[in-house]
Structure formats: structure tokens, C-alpha cells
């Protein structure tokens, strides 16, 4: 079944706030589907509508061919892993997991078997008789997952399940969650604001912004072919350019970018000469060299001055001034110290990128550039101004 879980035209307003503003999505059976977006984008509201805690003002939720919009939460074959886990403090680990089974009036033998299976699956067997206050964050999270999964839901809803954990643990739990999904094969609906989490665990990601879905696709599609400036900026870093189509040459066109020059780009949209385009170019697609790269027709070449260098360990991030633009460039270290001549602050460098690596955006909004949080150039000329707003 391809349309296992379907949201059809969901609208939900809180007063004047359009929490969910006309969302239609389809989730395939067995996949990990992420709702990704900044806080307040409506992703959690959509999850709560799916769980039955919120009734949408418009639209339907269809699960496995059944319209569940009007069903109360306890009648839906979905279970939730809550952000703060919401484990019952008056019960021990075993009884927390058994809660749903006991309500379903399963036999004592059944309860025992099922709970033990979940304890084993989540590696919590030795903690079965501990009370919730005795557990660490990661253990609580595993109990929350076990408590939901034991009811064999058709969809497991996860509401920022890793947000309360520290970075290292988060990465470990993410891997465990992924292998757990492979093991049980249940459809996951995963809500997160962390693009890294979404990219690594999802089969499909829906990027949400202001109550609307900006783009739905596989992690690679979302990253490599962002449809809007919001998606490009929210998922990873990017450089934005606006220009005008000067010439169309088969699959490629020459785009004139004011303050930078002409750039060759692959035509992934229907274009006309003279039409305005917005480009997104990922920092790691740009090659930075001290020596001039050999000229090739498929390559765009520019020259610029290094303004900022940020050493990140596995890579170094450079900010390079080219004309009116300040480009972010990522360079991965391969042979540290053996790399060609090291690039220093104020060096004049060559930038080059393949014509296929720039991507044309369908929608562009100035506001989205703020997501990239480029360092303010003004502060460099006035280093004494401590307050960023004072020289405005």
C-alpha cells in the first residue's frame, strides 16, 4: 500500500496563528517519515492531530484506508513517544511497558511475554523493576519507545525523541532507533527540528515552514535539489545568488549575476532569456585553490580574497569575498600539512565549481537568508562596537 497514512488538506489555527495551514502528505507503509522544521512550523501540531490530541478544523487523517479524524486517541492504532517521555512515575519500568496491554485486558501470560520481548529489544531487561526516577535519560527514552511499540501500532509517532539527550547519546540513540526500525518494520512518523537527525534516519522528509510543507522528498533530494530558499538554507549551509538569464545553450544557460559575473548553470527549470533566477550553491561544491585551475567549459571560475577562516577539525570553512558576494566554502582536509600551500587570511584564491552544482530555486525569500546567519561584515570595520545593533 502506497498511501498508508494520509493527511488530506489539514488546517488547524490557534486563534490568528496558522499552526497547520493546508497540509497534504502521504506516508508509505514501513518508512521513516520525518516532519522537519523550525519551532512553531506546525510539525508538532500535525503529529498531535495524527495522535488524536488535536482535532483539525479542516481536513482528514486516513490510516490504512480508514478515516480516523473523528476517533479519540485511545481508539487509534497509533502510539506516541513523547518529547519528555511522559513515563508514569508511580509505576516501574515493567508496568510502564505493560500499561497498554493491561488496558487491552490481555492475559497475564501474554503481558509477561510481550513486555519481556520489548525489554529485550530495547536492552532494558536488567532494569525491569526499576522505578522511573532511577533511570537515566537514554534509558527513559528506551522505555518510552518500548511502551509504545508493545501495542504494535500501525504508526509510531515520535515527537523530538532525542531532544532531551546530550549530543553523544543522541547520536548513539539515533543508530539504535534506526536498527530498531529495521527490526520491527513499523511506519515511523518522526518530528524533529534537527536536520542532521532527519537526514540520517529518514526515508522521506517533509520540510515545514509556517504551517506549510515546503518540500517533500528523500534526504538527498532535499539537500541536493532544494525547491525553495527556505529548504536550501534550513538544511545545511548554502550560498544564494540572484541573476538574470543571458543566454540559453542546450542544457545549460549563462546567468549574469550582478557583482559576480556570468555563471554557467544546468537548466533544471523552464527558462527564458531575460528571466530572473535564484541560485543555491552548497559550500562544499566550491573548490578553493591557490593556483589557477585549468579552464574548462563545464567549470565556473572566480577569484576572491579570504576574509575569514574557521577551523572545524574535519574541515575548514572559509569566507571568501568575490565582488559583491561573500561566499562560504568548505574544504575537507585529506592530508593535513601535505595539502598544497596552506591558505591564509587575506590570501587571493581561486574558486571553481562545476556547472551542474548550482541549483535553481523555485521560490526565494530574503528572510530565509537569515537562517544562514552569515557573520556581519560591518563588525569587522568597527571592532569596538560590542552591541551589534548600535551602528545601525
Amino acid at each position: 500500500m502506497t498511501h498508508f497514512l494520509e493527511f488530506a488538506g489539514i488546517k488547524h489555527y490557534f486563534g490568528a496563528v496558522k499552526a497547520v495551514d493546508g497540509v497534504s502528505l502521504t506516508v508509505k507503509q514501513g518508512e521513516v517519515f520525518s516532519l522537519l522544521g523550525p519551532s512553531g512550523c506546525g510539525k508538532t501540531t500535525l503529529l498531535r492531530i495524527c495522535a488524536g490530541f488535536q482535532h483539525p478544523q479542516e481536513g482528514r487523517v486516513i490510516l490504512n484506508g480508514v478515516d480516523i479524524t473523528e476517533l479519540p486517541p485511545e481508539k487509534r492504532k497509533v502510539n506516541t513517544v513523547f518529547q519528555n517521555y511522559a513515563l508514569f512515575p508511580h509505576l516501574d519500568v515493567f508496568e510502564n511497558i505493560a500499561f497498554g496491554l493491561r488496558i487491552a485486558k490481555r492475559s497475564a501470560v501474554d503481558v509477561r511475554q510481550e513486555v519481556e520481548r520489548m525489554l529485550d529489544l530495547t536492552d532494558m531487561t536488567e532494569h525491569a523493576r526499576k522505578r522511573v526516577v532511577e533511570l537515566s535519560g537514554g534509558q527513559k527514552q528506551r522505555v518510552a519507545i518500548a511502551r509504545a511499540l508493545v501495542n504494535r501500532p500501525q504508526v509510531l509517532l515520535l515527537d523530538e525523541p532525542l531532544a532531551a539527550l546530550d549530543l553523544k547519546l543522541r547520536q548513539r540513540m539515533l543508530v539504535q532507533l534506526d536498527s530498531l526500525h529495521d527490526e520491527v518494520g513499523i511506519t515511523f512518523l518522526y518530528v524533529t527540528h534537527d536536520q542532521g537527525e532527519a537526514m540520517s534516519i529518514s526515508d522521506t522528509i517533509a520540510v515545514m515552514n509556517r504551517g506549510k510543507v515546503e518540500q517533500t522528498g528523500s534526504p538527498a533530494e532535499i539537500y541536493e535539489a532544494p525547491r525553495s530558499s527556505f529548504v536550501a538554507a534550513f538544511i545545511g549551509d548554502t550560498n544564494f545568488f540572484d541573476g538574470v538569464v543571458k543566454e540559453i545553450d542546450g542544457d545549460y544557460s549563462l546567468v549574469a549575476i550582478e557583482g559576480l559575473g556570468a555563471v554557467r548553470v544546468f537548466n533544471d527549470k523552464q527558462l527564458k532569456v531575460g528571466g530572473a533566477v535564484h541560485l543555491s550553491l552548497r559550500p562544499e561544491k566550491i573548490h578553493l585553490t591557490v593556483a589557477e585551475p585549468p579552464a574548462e567549459s563545464s567549470r565556473n571560475i572566480s577569484r576572491g580574497e579570504v576574509e575569514e577562516i574557521i577551523y572545524l577539525g574535519s574541515a575548514t570553512k572559509y569566507w571568501v569575498r568575490v565582488g559583491d558576494y561573500r561566499l562560504a566554502v568548505n574544504r575537507v582536509h585529506r592530508r593535513f600539512g601535505l595539502d598544497e600551500k596552506p591558505i591564509r587570511w587575506k590570501d587571493l584564491v581561486w574558486l571553481s565549481w562545476h556547472s551542474d552544482d548550482g541549483y535553481m530555486l523555485e521560490r526565494y525569500s530574503e528572510a530565509d537568508e537569515e537562517l544562514l546567519s552569515l557573520p556581519d561584515t560591518e563588525t569587522e570595520t568597527e571592532p569596538l562596537a560590542v552591541d551589534g545593533d548600535s551602528h545601525e
Binding site: G52, A86, F88, H90, I103, A104, R131, E134, A148
Partner: protein, 305 residues
């Protein structure tokens, strides 16, 4: 000796200084008077209503009196019924108060405590007027047929229970609200999510969640209602005395202090025994929780408390 020393060393001098005032207060105004009352129960009465010179067991033996079990029983069932009714009313009230919008909540809380602004005796008199045989309420109830023409509203156990509930309701609502306010209402959603109906979630998750508030509220209502005196005195009939009235009768009318003391001792014990039991249960749970928390902390941090 070394064991005693160990225990004494365990008590911090600063902590001791801090508890001393409240300990002293309890000693002077609660423990000593109680012991004096226990002692008087074993003295003879003198002819002028004072305390005699010699010791006797007679007063205690006379407690086995056919009149007393009735009064003790009435005192207990009225107090227990009052506690049960107060809890049954207050738990839903606390639930809704805790979930109420903050703006309205303070007004609702004001409504709960507003009766305290009027003198207790005045309020009991008001009830007397309201329930009076010639009162509007009774006339109305007789007119609607709910009440028979010869059935009184006043001067029976029913009127006592009604005003007991009225009086002690805020004492149940306040601790229950304090507990409900700390309750994590996400837990109710979690229960619904796992298949529990709304009432089921209320009883299996909310009630255990505020269990400490329930214990406190029970103590706050049960203990003072066992010692009720004014309410049965003013609203009760000839056959609805509670222990408090009997004690007053021995002090003021019969002027027999040892007998009053013996009954007072019975009352103190009826209050103290269930109270100590409840405190023991609450305490054990608290130390268990605290131990678990410190164990977990030391387990995760390597720091020993």
C-alpha cells in the same frame, strides 16, 4: 555507645538549632498538655469540680459505658463520611483548578478561601437560619415534595455532616490543588495514547499522581472533624452528640475533670493512631524515593550523597 555516638554525630548542630523552636513549641503546647490530660484521667475527682489528691483506675474502667460506644461510633462515622465526601468533591475541583487558565485560576482560588474571611461562628449561625424549621429552604423543599411536612432539616446527624463538609472542604481543596498543580498532565495524554479512556486515565494515572495530596487532605479533614464541638453543639439534636460535646459536658455541666480527660485521651488516641499510621506510610515512601534518587545520582555521577 559507639552506635549512639555515630547517630549523634549524624545530627548536624545547625540543623538541631533550626528545629529547636518548633520542637520546643510542640513540647510545651502539644506533648506536655496531652501528658497532663492522660495523667488527670487517673486522678480522682473532688466534690467542687477540681482534681482530687489520689490516683484511681475507676474513671478509665467507667469508659466501658453503654453510652460511649454510640458516641464514639457516631464521631468516627461522621468524620470519616465527611473526609470521604470532601475528597470526592475536592479531587475533581483540584483537577479543574490545575488545568484552568492562569487568569481565571486566581479568581477561582479566591472563591475557595473567601469563606475564611467570615467568622466561623457566624457562618454556622447562618446555616442554622438557612436550615431552620421555618426557614425558606425547608418551606421550598416541602413545597416541591422533596421533603415531608414533618421532616426537619436541622438538629440531626445529617445537618451536622452537611455543615462539616461545608466547613472542611477548603482544607481538602488546598492540599489537593497543590498536588494537582505539580502533576504532569502530559501523563494523561500518554495514558489516552496507550488506549485508556478518559475516566480510566483519571483513576489510574491522575489519582496515583496526587496520592500525597490525598493523604494530606485526609489528615487535614479527618483530624479536626474528629474533634468537632461547635457544629454538633449548634446544629445537632439530643441524640447526635459527638465526643467533643461529651467532653464539654463533663467539664462545664458535670464538673468532672478526670472523666473529661479520660474521654479526651480516647479522642487523642483515635486521632493519633491513624495519623501516625498515615505519616509512617508517607514517610516510608518519601525516604524510599529519596534513597532511589540519591542512588541513581551516585550511580550516574559517582558522587555519594
Amino acid at each position: 555507645m559507639s552506635k549512639l555516638n555515630g547517630r549523634l554525630r549524624g545530627i548536624n548542630l545547625g540543623e538541631l538549632m533550626l528545629t529547636l523552636p518548633s520542637l520546643g513549641w510542640l513540647m510545651v503546647f502539644f506533648i506536655l498538655p496531652s501528658l497532663i490530660i492522660f495523667a488527670i484521667a487517673f486522678r480522682t475527682a473532688d466534690a467542687y469540680g477540681g482534681i482530687g489528691d489520689s490516683w484511681t483506675l475507676e474513671t478509665i474502667l467507667r469508659l466501658v459505658n453503654p453510652n460511649y460506644p454510640g458516641i464514639i461510633w457516631r464521631t468516627i462515622w461522621l468524620s470519616v463520611s465527611n473526609t470521604v465526601i470532601c475528597l470526592a468533591v475536592s479531587i475533581p475541583v483540584a483537577y479543574y483548578l490545575a488545568r484552568m487558565d492562569r487568569r481565571w485560576r486566581q479568581w477561582a482560588m479566591l472563591l475557595v478561601v473567601v469563606p475564611f474571611w467570615t467568622n466561623f461562628l457566624v457562618r454556622v449561625f447562618a446555616w442554622k437560619t438557612l436550615l431552620h424549621t421555618d426557614g425558606t429552604l425547608r418551606h421550598f423543599l416541602v413545597w416541591t415534595g422533596i421533603l415531608g411536612a414533618d421532616q426537619p432539616l436541622l438538629y440531626n446527624s445529617g445537618s451536622i455532616l452537611l455543615v462539616l463538609v461545608y466547613t472542611y472542604l477548603p482544607f481538602a481543596i488546598l492540599p489537593l490543588y497543590a498536588a494537582a498543580e505539580k502533576f504532569d498532565f502530559n501523563l494523561l495524554e500518554a495514558a489516552r495514547d496507550l488506549g485508556a479512556s478518559s475516566p480510566h486515565a483519571f483513576f489510574s494515572v491522575f489519582m496515583p499522581g496526587i496520592s500525597r495530596g490525598i493523604v494530606t487532605a485526609s489528615i487535614m479533614v479527618l483530624v479536626p472533624s474528629l474533634g468537632s464541638y461547635v457544629i454538633p453543639e449548634m446544629l445537632g439534636g439530643v441524640d447526635s452528640d459527638m465526643l467533643g460535646n461529651k467532653i464539654a459536658q463533663y467539664v462545664y455541666t458535670e464538673r468532672n475533670l478526670p472523666r473529661a480527660s479520660a474521654l479526651a485521651a480516647v479522642l487523642i488516641l483515635t486521632v493519633l493512631i491513624p495519623l501516625l499510621g498515615m505519616m509512617y506510610i508517607n514517610n516510608r515512601r518519601q525516604t524510599r524515593d529519596r534513597k532511589e534518587i540519591t542512588d541513581t545520582l551516585s550511580h550516574h555521577t559517582g558522587i555519594r550523597a
